[in-house]
């Protein structure tokens, strides 16, 4: 009986204790690094042996819990499991943060599943794999593979990206978070960065990503390096590429060491060397390139904060086709009328004048800290130095002196705050400050092409992102930039007076020196920009994006101050001190479909630009060196409209078909004429075979057809040739014919050991050795483009 009583007491006491068992834990599981929702995370409550998975919002609910301490184990496919002890006295809501397992973290970043830079405009990505395959290409060549992106070339080593018909100062390049300041105003100045030092590229065609810049009228190219994992590890890769055309190659290597404590270090270096490239029928004399780059970075990556310091050096020496170096218009006629370049020599690795020798240093410090309520605060400081030397064919003592020697120093400071206002709203705020100086070395013995100047820049932005429901995301942003430019410019007195500047700008004159006059323009520019957009998801796998962006850009030093012979273009270029900012309104629509079998995007757009700065010929000027065409910058109203189409169809488990098509129409509305240098319509079609089971074998055959540009302004001019005693037309306008190129690429993987993989790639471009010239190659007047090229690519990864 006593036993029974005891038993009853025991049971009832137990009953009394457990009677409050209606507690609930409502939890949400997020990635510690970027607060991404973790779907299907496994929750195990050890005490009651209960298991469940988080739902699509990363949430879970466990009810019927008593007032006691529970042990909850949370795990996720890509994460290190974590155990929590929770003492319950009532129902609670809690956010659980998990740390991604790090190799996978990187993969996820590379697949582009992290935060988008703009939710309502189309983003094009280039993955690490694609970058590795094109190790010896330039940034411009790689971006060329995206629909709607072409390139403005000077030969084949100076490649400038053109986004939806716009380039130079209208395309912003963000190199690992910092805007590249490398004298991007010149048509023959390629971006100074090594693609082997970056892990992925995102391109936004338009100015909608206001957090980076408000003046990207053409678009933004964002390069990123992979995050270092938080674990004890050492890994690296080496890629060796060799190519027949140019008889050269590239070697790049990098090594990363990481620690569980969050510390990491990385070193990367590249050497690229090519001799003269060749067209199908002849050698392209003096087109070699020698490029070296080195970068080191180190820092600490914690869950809620991080700090990184890095330094990079990029050095490129590149020859410019000897036959393109000309005197005046009479030389131009001879060069254009000759089917083959007038100067063809034997193959050599030597790079002689004319050539460019550019050095770019970046020193950077960046850090972030996550605050519980405020959000993520990012901080970046960078110092960049760009030293550009251009060598012309010169005479006497000046032979080895550069004709242009510019040193551009830029300090940039960025502060960004990314905060979650609510479950569905996100606000980004930021502040930028920049100080830039340009120094043109007078010891060149050639008048300064770009004057000495200092420029101060500040910017302020806010972007709000709001998810209205599962179908709609709304985005709104505004930015204001202020630029103050203080320059010291020497004008030729004859030009100063010819332009009437002696009366309009008489108060900025500092001093007169013989036939030159020193002036001190101090210019202010206020540049507002804004964006508004909607993303609409429907029928599960369709998405419709609409984005409007307002961008405005202050004129660059070249547009403001040019005044004299631009040797590499054989023309006299004149800028305008009176220029104001150009303003663009871009409307962009995107229809996106992404299912297992078919993926496509259709992206029509229209860009209306007022006060668009264009350079156009106005007259022919007689000088003692012969006649030169005079090109003058002027402001007009322009309209660019076009459509970019991308498609992919999975034919079966192994075969895939890709299609791309782009067309753009550029018009000068004021003059009712076509805009110069608009990329011709083009289409690419490729068939690819991939077999993961067969050593990840990849085969890809691609056809590229570039149409003839039929819409172009007629800038031809006549010049008297004494030898023939006739007036002859200098045809600088007619675009070259359409062309078709075929290329093949393949790769296969071999496992060398448990941890290391060797990838062997083989490719041929321009398979039929087709003669062609591209409208957007500035040397198209003088020589054909590249002939056939065989390349091999070896990659070892550990």
């Amino acid at each position: 009986m006593r036993v029974f009583i005891l038993l009853f007491l025991l049971i009832s006491s137990n009953f009394i204790i457990s009677q409050n068992c209606d507690n609930t834990i409502t939890g949400k599981v997020l990635d510690l690094h970027d607060n991404t929702i973790l779907v299907d995370a496994r929750i195990v409550v050890l005490e009651i042996n209960k298991q469940l998975l988080t739902n699509e919002s990363g949430e879970f609910t466990i009810s019927g819990l008593c007032n006691q301490t529970y042990t909850i184990e949370i795990s996720h496919a890509f994460c290190l499991p974590k155990t929590y002890k929770i003492e319950l006295i009532s129902s609670i809501e809690k956010v659980f943060l998990l740390e991604h397992h790090l190799e996978e973290l990187n993969e996820i970043i590379l697949e582009g599943k992290t935060n988008n830079d703009s939710e309502t405009s189309l983003e094009n990505k280039i993955t690490k794999e694609e970058l590795e395959k094109s190790s010896s290409k330039s940034l411009g060549d790689i971006l060329n593979s995206i629909s709607g992106i072409s390139s403005l070339n000077t030969g084949n080593t100076i490649v400038k990206p053109v986004i939806n018909g716009l380039h130079s100062s209208r395309v912003v390049i963000l190199n690992d978070g910092v805007r590249l300041e490398d004298q991007d105003w010149g048509a023959e100045h390629a971006p100074n960065l090594d693609i082997n030092a970056i892990d992925n590229i995102t391109v936004i065609k338009g100015a909608s990503a206001l957090q980076y810049s408000g003046n990207a009228i053409g678009g933004i190219v964002i390069t990123e390096t992979a995050k270092a994992p938080v674990k004890d590890s050492i890994y690296g890769k080496t890629i060796v590429t060799a190519a027949s055309n140019g008889r050269g190659g590239t070697t790049t290597t990098q090594l990363t060491k990481t620690y569980k404590s969050g510390w990491y270090g990385n070193i990367q270096g590249t050497i690229k060397r090519f001799g003269d490239f060749n067209a199908p029928d002849y050698n392209l004399s003096n087109t070699g390139v020698y490029e070296r780059s080195l970068s080191v970075r180190g820092g600490i990556n914690r869950f809620r904060s991080g700090l990184e310091a890095s330094y990079s050096l990029y050095k490129m020496e590149t020859g410019i086709l000897r036959a393109s170096h000309l005197g005046g218009a009479q030389d131009q006629i001879r060069a254009i009328n000759n089917l083959e370049p007038l100067f063809v020599d034997d193959f050599t690795y030597n790079i002689n004048s004319p050539k460019q020798d550019v050095e770019h240093h970046i020193l950077k410090l960046k850090g972030f800290k996550k605050f519980e309520k405020l959000g993520k605060l990012d901080f970046k400081y960078s110092f960049q130095q760009n030293n550009r030397l251009e060598f012309d064919v010169r005479r006497g003592d000046d032979r080895d002196k550069p004709s242009l020697d510019l040193k551009l120093n830029t300090h940039t400071l960025l502060l960004d705050l990314d905060s979650k206002l609510s479950e569905t709203a996100n606000l980004k705020l930021g502040l930028t400050g920049q100080y830039q100086t340009n120094f043109a070395d007078p010891s060149t013995g050639v008048r300064r092409l770009i004057p000495d100047y200092s420029e101060y820049n500040t910017g302020l932005y806010a972007i709000l992102e709001k998810q209205i429901n599962n179908q709609f995301i709304f985005e709104l942003g505004a930015r204001l930039d202020y630029t103050y430019l203080d320059a010291l410019k020497f004008y030729r007195t004859s030009f100063w007076e010819d332009r009437g500047y002696d009366s309009t700008f008489q108060d900025i004159v500092v001093e007169e020196f013989g036939n030159q006059i020193l002036v001190n323009p101090k210019l202010n520019f206020y540049n507002p920009s804004a964006t508004a957009g909607i993303a609409y998801n429907f029928k599960e796998d369709f998405k419709l994006l609409f984005n409007y962006s307002l961008a405005s850009r202050a004129p660059n030093p070249s547009e403001l101050f040019s005044e004299g012979l631009h040797h590499s273009a054989s023309r006299i270029e004149l800028g305008g001190l009176e220029f104001k900012s150009e303003t663009a309104h871009k409307f962009s629509f995107t229809l996106q479909h992404d299912s297992d079998r078919i993926r496509f995007t259709i992206n029509p757009y229209i860009n209306l630009i007022s006060d668009f700065i264009v350079i156009e010929p106005i007259e022919v000027q007689q000088t003692i060196r012969g006649n030169f065409q005079v090109w003058e910058y002027r402001q007009t109203n322009a309209r660019l409209m076009g459509v970019d189409i991308d498609g992919e169809i999975k034919l079966n488990d192994y075969f895939k078909y890709n299609h791309q098509f782009s067309i753009i129409k550029g018009k000068d509305i004021t003059r009712k004429d076509a805009l110069i240098n608009m990329p011709a319509a083009s289409t690419r079609n490729a068939i690819a075979y991939t077999n993961k089971k067969l050593n990840n074998l990849n085969l890809r055959l691609q056809s590229e057809y570039v149409f003839r540009q039929n819409e172009f302004p007629d800038n031809n001019f006549e010049v008297f040739v004494p030898e023939t005693e006739t007036l002859e037309i200098v045809d600088v306008s007619t675009p070259p014919d359409a062309y078709h190129l075929l290329s093949f690429n393949s790769s296969i993987d071999y496992k060398l050991s448990k941890k290391s993989i060797l990838t062997i790639g083989f490719g041929v471009s321009n398979i039929f050795n087709t003669n062609y010239r591209n409208y957007l190659n500035r040397l198209r007047y003088y020589a054909d483009d590249l002939g056939r090229d065989y390349s091999i690519n070896l990659k070892i990864k550990q």
Partner: protein, 185 residues
């Protein structure tokens, strides 16, 4: 995180002090084009004595908007051989630099061409040559025929293909091109 704040603060200070201290601009020095040819003077001296003829083109602002100024001192005598010499100057420098010296020192890389328009009764011949015995042409002879008039053009090519048969296949880059209206009395 303390370090982080300190570094931030330090950098901001650095940036702004740097920005402010640069206000006192030092006036840069003007650049006089070292290679530009502003003036070509062709002196024609009759071999057997007589009036020397001078042809001159001067363009002091180089690529600037002002046109070159051309002068011809007089007409050539008929059936006369003249010894010609060419002088090139850069008059943007003070004193003027004699570019002819440079051209003659680098004779392998330069060549003058003389283009005679139809109807002008003159013939030309090179009087000086480079180290490979190819023509240089800063010295030449010009022989006039019967009375006539026309244009003579002097062209200086830098790094031409040598030897050549004329401007057509000489390539290189035109450093100078000057035309003169000439009459033979």
């Amino acid at each position: 995180m303390k370090n982080f704040k300190l570094i931030t603060l330090a950098l901001i200070t650095l940036l702004f002090t740097n920005a402010c201290s640069n206000d006192d601009d030092v006036t840069p020095a003007p650049v006089n084009e070292e290679e530009i040819i502003t003036t070509i003077t062709v002196t024609l001296t009759p071999a057997g004595g007589g009036t020397t003829i001078t042809l001159k083109t001067q363009d002091l602002d180089g690529d600037g908007p002002n046109l070159p100024v051309t002068t011809v001192s007089g007409d050539l005598a008929a059936s006369t051989t003249y010894n010609g010499s060419i002088e090139l100057l850069n008059e943007t420098e003070d004193p003027a630099e004699d570019i002819t010296v440079e051209v003659e020192e680098e004779s392998d890389e330069h060549q003058f061409f003389y283009t005679i328009s139809t109807g002008l009764n003159v013939t030309t011949a090179y009087s000086n040559f480079d180290n490979n015995s190819n023509p240089l042409g800063t010295a030449f002879t010009i022989t006039s025929g019967a009375a006539s008039s026309g244009v003579i053009t002097f062209t200086l090519r830098h790094e031409p293909i040598k030897p050549n048969t004329g401007l057509d296949n000489a390539g290189g880059e035109t450093d100078l091109e000057a035309s003169f209206n000439i009459a033979i009395q």
